[in-house]
C-alpha cells in the first residue's frame, strides 16, 4: 500500500547510516527507526512555498542534528494532499495504519490540517504543523498530539492590522474571500484594528476562488478607506494585488494590507507590482547571519529559490522533534510531546523559543514592507523590516483560545 513517493536517497542514506552506527558504536542499544511524513501541496497553489522544499528542509534537519550518530535512523517520506481534506486524510490514515509513519510534518491548507490533527490524535502519533493558518489548531480544536509551529491567523492580523493603524491607516475596507479562512482573518483583523483605534468602514465578500476582483476593488476605491485589507490567500491575493495596480488604486494613495502574503507570492508578483505592500512573517531568509547561512545551503537545492517561512518551520519542528526522541529514547507520543513542551526550542532560523501547553510554538514575528524596485540590491532582496513583534504579543494569549487542554 505504499504508493507515495519515497525519497530513495534518504532510504539508502538511512540504511547506510544504520550500518555505520552498528559498527562504530559498540553499544548494545538498537537504533530507533523514525519515519516522518512530509504531507503538503506538491502540485498546486502552495507547491512553491511548501512542496518539495519542505521535504528538503526536513532532511536538512536530520542531517544537522546528526541523527545517525545519535542512534536515530530517520527516514523522510513525502506525499501530495492536493489541498483536499479527503485526500490528505486518506494518506495520513494509510501512513499511520500500514506504513509505520511516526510523525506528519508541514500540512498547509487549514482544512487538511484540521483533518490530520484529528486523525493524528485518534492514532496517538505526532503532528508537526507548519503550513496551516488556522488558529483553531491551538484553539477550540487543540490536541495533545499537535505542535503548531510557524504562524496563524491571529498572529497575521495582530502584526499587519496593528501596524497599519499605528502608521495612520485608521479606516479599513476588507476584500474577504468568502470562506471560513477569509472570514476568520477578517474577524481577527477587525478586532485588532478597532482595539488600536481604527475603524472598519466597509467590506465585500468575494467568491472563492476568484479571478476578477476589479468590481470589488472599485467598491473599495469608492469607500475612500485608507487601507484595503486583503483577507484572502494564494491566487486570490496575487490577482487582487495585480488588479489593484492596474486600476491605479495604490497610485491613488490607498494602501494594501496583505494579511497572508508569503515571500514566494512577492517573487511571483515582482517588486514593480508588489512594492509598498505591508505584511507579517515569522521568518525571512535575510533576517540575520544564521538565517542567511542556512538559506544559502537551502537555495541551491530548490533551483535558487529562497526558503519560505513554512519551510523554515518544518526544519525547526523536525529538529526539535528529533531532539525529543533522542533524549527520551522512545517514540511514545505522550513522552515525546512532554519533552518538547518542557524544553526550550533552539534553532538557527527562529532562535530560542518555547512550546505552550496548547501546542502553540512561540517566537517573534516581523513586520515587513516590500521594497521598491530601486531599493532592491539583487534577486530575492524583497523586504525591509519595519518592526519586531515580541513572541508574547504576536500570538494569542493562552487563555483566550478556548483550548480544552488549557482549562484541564
Amino acid at each position: 500500500m505504499t504508493n507515495f513517493r519515497m525519497n530513495r536517497r534518504s532510504v539508502l542514506a538511512g540504511a547506510a547510516a544504520t550500518a555505520f552506527t552498528a559498527r562504530s558504536m559498540a553499544q548494545a542499544q538498537q537504533p530507533i527507526n523514525i519515519k516522518i511524513g512530509v504531507l503538503n501541496d506538491r502540485s498546486g497553489l502552495y507547491a512553491d512555498l511548501t512542496g518539495e522544499g519542505s521535504a528538503i528542509a526536513a532532511r536538512m534537519a536530520v542531517e544537522d542534528f546528526g541523527a545517525a550518530a545519535k542512534g536515530l535512523n530517520v527516514q523522510i517520506v513525502s506525499a501530495d494532499h492536493q489541498n483536499k481534506p479527503d485526500v490528505g486524510a486518506n494518506i495520513a490514515r494509510q501512513w499511520y495504519d500500514t506504513d509505520a509513519v511516526d510523525a506528519i510534518a508541514d500540512v498547509p491548507t487549514s482544512s487538511v490540517a484540521l483533518a490530520i490533527n484529528q486523525i493524528t490524535r485518534e492514532k496517538n502519533k505526532i503532528f508537526l504543523n507548519s503550513g496551516a493558518a488556522t488558529s483553531d489548531l491551538t484553539g477550540s480544536q487543540c490536541s495533545p498530539n499537535t505542535v503548531h509551529w510557524t504562524y496563524d491567523t491571529y498572529m497575521l492580523s495582530q502584526g499587519t492590522g496593528g501596524a497599519m493603524v499605528k502608521a495612520g491607516g485608521d479606516t479599513w475596507f476588507f476584500l474577504t474571500a468568502d470562506y471560513a479562512f477569509g472570514h476568520a482573518l477578517e474577524r481577527d483583523t477587525t478586532a485588532v484594528v478597532q482595539r488600536a483605534g481604527g475603524r472598519v468602514i466597509g467590506g465585500v465578500r468575494t467568491p472563492f476562488p476568484g479571478t476578477d476582483f476589479s468590481s470589488f476593488l472599485l467598491q473599495a476605491q469608492a469607500s475612500r478607506a485608507k487601507v484595503i485589507g486583503l483577507a484572502n490567500a494564494g491566487g486570490d491575493t496575487v490577482n487582487s494585488i495585480k488588479q489593484a495596480a492596474e486600476f491605479g488604486i495604490t497610485a491613488g494613495g490607498q494602501k494594501l494590507a496583505g494579511l497572508l502574503v508569503f515571500v514566494n507570492d512577492v517573487h511571483a508578483l515582482g517588486l514593480q507590482t508588489a512594492q509598498g505592500l505591508v505584511l507579517t512573517e515569522t521568518f525571512y531568509w535575510d533576517l540575520n547571519d544564521s538565517t542567511r547561512a542556512w538559506s544559502r545551503r537551502f537555495a541551491p537545492q530548490r533551483a535558487g529559490n529562497m526558503p519560505s517561512m513554512v519551510q523554515a518551520g518544518v526544519y525547526g519542528a523536525t529538529l526539535h522533534y528529533l531532539k525529543a526522541v533522542a533524549a527520551t529514547k522512545t517514540k511514545d507520543a505522550a513522552q515525546v510531546m512532554a519533552w518538547m513542551k518542557a524544553n526550550e526550542t533552539d534553532d538557527p532560523l527562529f532562535g530560542k523559543g518555547t512550546i505552550r501547553a496548547d501546542g502553540r510554538k512561540l517566537h517573534p514575528a516581523y513586520l515587513f514592507e516590500v521594497k521598491k524596485p530601486s531599493e532592491s540590491k539583487g534577486p530575492w532582496d524583497y523586504y525591509k523590516q519595519l518592526a519586531t513583534i515580541p513572541a508574547a504579543e504576536a500570538f494569542r494569549p493562552l487563555n483566550a483560545g478556548a483550548c480544552p487542554l488549557v482549562r484541564a
Binding site: 513517493r5 483536499k84 481534506p85 494518506i91 490514515r93 487549514s110 468568502d178 470562506y179 471560513a180 467568491p207
Partner: protein
C-alpha cells in the same frame, strides 16, 4: 425523431429476464456477497478503509447507471446528490448525534428532494441540453456548499464525523465493523436497482430510452417516467454519499465538485453502461487506480482522460459489456 438514445450496445440481446439469465444473475450476486465477506481478510487490498471507499463509489456509479444505462439520460451533475447527502448525513450525525441509520436515511431523503427539484427542471430539455443543465444546477449546489459554512463547514468540510452506535446499540468502533455495514448497504442498494430494472417500470424506461417518440405514441407519460428515474437515481446516489460520510468520517467539497460528476461517468463507462455489474467493476478500477497511482500527482488526471477517450472511441461497451457480449449473456 427523439435523439436521446444513448443505447448501451450490451443491451442488444433480449433481456426480458428469461429464466437462465436471472439464474446466472442470482449466482453472481451470491458470489458478490461471498466476496464482500472475505475481502477484508485479503492482504494489500483488504485495507477496510480503502474497501469502504470502493463500495460507496460503486453504489454511486450503479445509481448513476440506472439513469444513463437504463433511462438514457446523461446527467453531468450527479455529484450534487452524492455530496449534498454526505453533508446532511455528516451534519446530523455530528451536530444532532443521530444514529448512523437515521443519518443515512436523512441523507438519502435529501438526495431525493434535490433530485425532484433539479429533475423537474432538467427533463424539460433533452440530450446535450439535459447534460448541461444538470451540470449547471449541480454547480449551484457546489457554490451553496462553499458559502454555507454553518452547515457544510465551508472548505474545511465536516470533519470528525462520529460513528455513533448503529440503532443506538451496536458500536461501530473499528473500521472492519463499519466495513460490513457499508457492504450491507451497498448490496441492498444494488439489489434494489436490479429489481427496478427488471420491473415493468424498468421495461418502460428502456422503451423510452430506445425510442421516446414511440413510447409517447403508446400512451406513456414519458416525462413522469423520466422524473421518477431521476429521483430514484438521485436518492441512491444520496444513499451512497451518506454512507460514505459515515464510513470515512468526512464530508467535503470534493464530493460536490463537478469533477466528481465526471468521475462517476467515467466509472460507468469503463465498467460498461447499461449492465448490472459494470459500474461496480468500473468503480473498483478507477478508485484503485487513484489510490495506487496517487504518487503520480497530476498524471492521474491525464491517465483518466486517456481512459475516457479510449472508452468513447473503441471501448464503448466497457469491461463487463465486453465480457457479456463474449458470453452472449447480459450481465
Amino acid at each position: 425523431m427523439a435523439d436521446v438514445t444513448i443505447a448501451a450496445p450490451a443491451s442488444a440481446p433480449a433481456e426480458t429476464g428469461s429464466a437462465d439469465h436471472s439464474a446466472l444473475h442470482r449466482t453472481l450476486f451470491i458470489a458478490l456477497a461471498a466476496l464482500l465477506v472475505v475481502l477484508p481478510f485479503i492482504p494489500v487490498i483488504g485495507y477496510p478503509f480503502f474497501l469502504m471507499k470502493v463500495l460507496c463509489f460503486a453504489l454511486f456509479a450503479c445509481a448513476f447507471n440506472l439513469m444513463l444505462g437504463y433511462g438514457g439520460l446523461l446527467s453531468f451533475g450527479h455529484a450534487a446528490y452524492f455530496g449534498f447527502a454526505s453533508y446532511v448525513a455528516a451534519y446530523t450525525a455530528k451536530h444532532w448525534g443521530l444514529t448512523p441509520e437515521v443519518s443515512i436515511l436523512l441523507g438519502t431523503a435529501s438526495g431525493a428532494a434535490l433530485g425532484l427539484a433539479f429533475g423537474s427542471l432538467a427533463i424539460r430539455r433533452q440530450g446535450i441540453y439535459f447534460a448541461m443543465i444538470t451540470l449547471a444546477l449541480a454547480q449551484m449546489v457546489y457554490f451553496f456548499s462553499l458559502q454555507a459554512p454553518r452547515f457544510t463547514g465551508g472548505e474545511d468540510g465536516i470533519q470528525a464525523v462520529p460513528r455513533n452506535n448503529l440503532f443506538g446499540v451496536l458500536p461501530l468502533g473499528n473500521d472492519t465493523t463499519t466495513y460490513y455495514l457499508v457492504a450491507v448497504v451497498f448490496l441492498a442498494g444494488v439489489l434494489l436497482i436490479y429489481r427496478i430494472i427488471h420491473s415493468p417500470f424498468g421495461q418502460v424506461l428502456k422503451a423510452i430510452r430506445d425510442n421516446e417518440a414511440r413510447a409517447i405514441s403508446l400512451g406513456y407519460r414519458v416525462n413522469q417516467y423520466k422524473l421518477a428515474v431521476f429521483v430514484l437515481s438521485a436518492s441512491l446516489a444520496g444513499l451512497a454519499g451518506a454512507t460514505k460520510a459515515i464510513a470515512v468520517q468526512l464530508a467535503s467539497l470534493t464530493d460536490v465538485h463537478w469533477s466528481m460528476s465526471g468521475e462517476v461517468v467515467l466509472m460507468t463507462l469503463v465498467g460498461g453502461m447499461g449492465t448490472v455489474f459494470g459500474p461496480i467493476v468500473g468503480a473498483a478500477v478507477i478508485i484503485s487506480m487513484q489510490n495506487f497511482l496517487a504518487g503520480l500527482g497530476a498524471w492521474v488526471t491525464v491517465v483518466q482522460g486517456v481512459i475516457f477517450v479510449i472508452c468513447v472511441l473503441v471501448f464503448r461497451e466497457g469491461i463487463v459489456g465486453v465480457i457479456g457480449k463474449w458470453l452472449k449473456k447480459p450481465l
